[in-house]
C-alpha cells in the first residue's frame, strides 16, 4: 500500500524560492507574531509571499492578520486566499473557532494532506509558523520539506534558551540549514543570549524589544506595521540582507 500524497509534495513546493520555518521549540516567544509580521513586511516590499500556519491545535496567525470571511478556492487542488498580499493557508479555514485535538500521527497526516493539496504557485518565499515543541511536526518538516531554512526565535529567558539550544543542536545534527536566532521580547540590556548563540557558532540576527502597542494592533495590519516591533523586524531584515 502506497500513499500517493508523498510523491506530490515536492511538486507542490518546487516553484518556491525559499522556505523559512519560524520555530523555537518553546511556546509564547513570539513565533506566530514574528512569522505573520515578517510575511507582511516582505509582501509590502513586493515579494511574492506565502504564510502557512502549522499550529494545528492552536493557530493564531489569522488573528494577527485579521483574516475574516475568507476561504481557499478550489482549482485542481486548494488555492490559498490572498490576505494583505500574502497567500495564506491555515487549518482555521476548516475549523472555524473549533479545537481539533490531534495526536502525533494525526498531526503528520494533516500536515501531509495540506502540503499535498495546497497549490502555492510561484512564490519568492514561504514562511511557516511552527507550533511549540520538538516533536512530530518538526520531524515531518525536516523529512518532507527539502531545503527548509530555520529561523529560530527565543525570548531573553534562560528557560526559553534551554529549549532553543536543544532545537539548535538537533537541527545541526540533522544537517538542517539554520538562518540564525532572533531574541524577542527584550526588556533590559543584556548580551547573554547573543553570547550563547555565538558560542554555539550560530548567527545572532538581532533583538526585538517588548512593545506594549502590539496587542492593540493585532488584526489591524497597518497599525501593526507602524509599531516599533515591526520596525525592529524590518531592521533585522535589512541588516541580514534577507539572509541570502
Amino acid at each position: 500500500m502506497l500513499d500517493p500524497r508523498l510523491t506530490i509534495i515536492g511538486e507542490r513546493l518546487k516553484s518556491i524560492g525559499q522556505i523559512i520555518v519560524v520555530s523555537s521549540g518553546k511556546g509564547g516567544v513570539g513565533k506566530s507574531l514574528i512569522a505573520s509580521t515578517l510575511a507582511l513586511i516582505l509582501a509590502r516590499k513586493g515579494f511574492r509571499v506565502g504564510l502557512l500556519d502549522l499550529d494545528f491545535t492552536s493557530p493564531t496567525t489569522h488573528v494577527t492578520l485579521g483574516v475574516r470571511g475568507l476561504q481557499p478556492s478550489e482549482d485542481k487542488g486548494v488555492v490559498p486566499p490572498e490576505v494583505h498580499g500574502i497567500k495564506y493557508m491555515s487549518l482555521i479555514f476548516y475549523l472555524g473557532d473549533r479545537t481539533s485535538p490531534l495526536r502525533g500521527p494525526e498531526i503528520s497526516n494533516a500536515f501531509i494532506e495540506m502540503l499535498a493539496v495546497t497549490r502555492w504557485g510561484s512564490l519568492d518565499m514561504l514562511i511557516i509558523d511552527m507550533p511549540p515543541g520538538i516533536g512530530d511536526l518538526m520531524l515531518d518538516v525536516l523529512k518532507y520539506i527539502r531545503g527548509a531554512r530555520f529561523l529560530i526565535i527565543t525570548s531573553p529567558s534562560r528557560m526559553a534558551f534551554e529549549t532553543v539550544r536543544k532545537l539548535l543542536t538537533l537541527l545541526r545534527d540533522l544537517g538542517a540549514e539554520i538562518i540564525g536566532v532572533i531574541e524577542n521580547m527584550k526588556m533590559e540590556d543584556s548580551a547573554h543570549i547573543r553570547r550563547e548563540v555565538e558560542a554555539l557558532g550560530e548567527r545572532f540576527l538581532g533583538e526585538i524589544h517588548f512593545d506594549g502597542r502590539v496587542e492593540n494592533a493585532l488584526g489591524d495590519v497597518d497599525a501593526l506595521l507602524k509599531t516599533d516591533f515591526a520596525k525592529e523586524i524590518e531592521k533585522i531584515l535589512e541588516e541580514n540582507v534577507m539572509w541570502r
Binding site: P4, Y94, E113, M114
Partner: protein, 132 residues
C-alpha cells in the same frame, strides 16, 4: 477540485513505481478510496483519464471504497462514519483535511474527541500491474 490534486498525486506515484519496477507499460492500478474523504469517484476517474500519459496511457484504474471506522481511545467504542449525522459544511471540511473530524465528531458513547480513524481515511495505491 480536490479530486484533481489526488489524481495528480496518484499519477505521479504510479509513474515512480513503474520506473522503479522497470515496467514498460502500466496495465492496471488498484486504488483504495477511504470513505471519510468523500472523494467523488467519478471526478477522480475522469481526472485520472485526463492526466494519464506515457507508460500509463492504457492503464485501467480500479477503485474500492473502504469504510471509515472510528474507535474511541477512551472507552473502546467502535462506530462508522456513515452512521454519523454530518452537515454538508462539515463534510466539506473533512473532505479537505480528514483530521478535522476530531473537531466535529465525538464518541457516541462517551463523548470523547479522542478517537482513532481506524480505516477509510485517505486514498491508497494497493497494486500496480504492468508488463516489463
Amino acid at each position: 477540485m480536490h479530486e484533481w490534486a489526488l489524481a495528480e498525486a496518484i499519477i505521479s506515484a504510479v509513474s515512480q513505481i513503474a520506473e522503479r519496477e522497470g515496467l514498460k507499460e502500466v496495465r492496471e492500478v488498484g486504488l483504495r478510496i477511504g470513505e471519510l474523504q468523500q472523494v467523488d469517484r467519478e471526478v477522480l476517474g475522469f481526472a485520472l483519464s485526463q492526466l494519464k500519459s506515457g507508460k500509463l496511457s492504457n492503464a485501467k484504474f480500479t477503485m474500492r471504497t473502504v469504510r471509515a471506522r472510528f474507535k474511541c481511545r477512551v472507552c473502546g467504542n467502535k462506530w462508522l462514519f456513515r452512521e454519523a449525522k454530518v452537515s454538508e459544511d462539515v463534510k466539506e471540511s473533512i473532505h479537505f483535511i480528514p483530521e478535522v473530524a476530531h473537531a466535529y465528531f465525538r464518541c457516541p458513547r462517551c463523548g470523547s474527541p479522542d478517537f482513532d480513524i481506524s480505516s477509510g481515511r485517505g486514498v491508497w495505491i494497493s497494486s500496480v500491474r504492468g508488463v516489463k
